[in-house]
Symmetry: C2
């Protein structure tokens, strides 16, 4: 850990910062029963619903782990499981009311944090950072 940090490590720091901020705001807003691991899964549910396998891929955990997380999130009222009309084997994880409300809080915090970052780096630089990370994603994201 001597010398300048590599890009992976720098990304760790930045990512954790965002995660911690969002989780703190969620807890402050009364959503204090969602853990980091659950939050990572919850954050990857999209509006039309997401298959469990896709959640697992996005959150970089096994299907079993995702099942476990969704179990908890479902019991806590954040999501529901509904049948996937396009495939009888699959089920879609969709937001429940509490999940939508929490998502709203998370979105707001993300915006605030991005705003802070933009103030620090400048608009142009922030846009450039986003672009570079997106390009890096092309070769680092195993799932599209």
């Amino acid at each position: 850990m001597d010398g300048p940090l590599n890009i992976g490590l720098l990304c760790f720091i930045v990512q954790r910062a965002m995660e911690d901020r969002v989780l703190a705001d969620l807890a402050a807003a009364g959503y204090d029963d969602v853990t980091i691991a659950q939050g990572r899964v919850l954050a990857r549910v999209d509006a039309k619903g997401t298959r469990l396998s896709d959640l697992a891929e996005r959150a970089r955990v096994t299907r079993q782990t995702a099942t476990f997380m969704v179990d908890h999130l479902e019991r806590a009222g954040y999501v529901r499981r509904v049948p996937d009309p396009s495939d009888a084997r699959a089920r879609l994880v969709v937001f429940a009311e509490r999940g939508l409300a929490a998502q709203e809080v998370a979105r707001r915090t993300e915006a605030v944090v991005q705003e802070e970052w933009t103030r620090h780096l400048g608009r142009r630089a922030t846009a450039r950072l986003h672009e570079l990370l997106s390009r890096l994603r092309e070769i680092t994201d195993p799932y599209r």
Copy 2:
């Protein structure tokens, strides 16, 4: 998870990619008894030795968790605990032989991966990315 990904999420993807590559190479080289969590702590030990509290801060875990990780790493021969000459309360976590050898493998993989990334982004862009992330670190790293 609809729409464009925020910088935090992009960082998650990049960071995990690096971590997975390093861990895979470590396992392939015979260091298959170190887990991701242990690796995160091990990667933050520096040459002159590092205090447990500092390891905990850098890896973003509690001191208890760091103690647990170092216990395992010590038992597996990656590190040793030695007294801190500057403070009798503290102990320094230093590399043992196996840890040094593993570090060498990890360093090599990091270099290879950074090389791949540089090939994809270009030299200038990669340097810019590193600079931007470093500047972002100024306000996202709670520990200096």
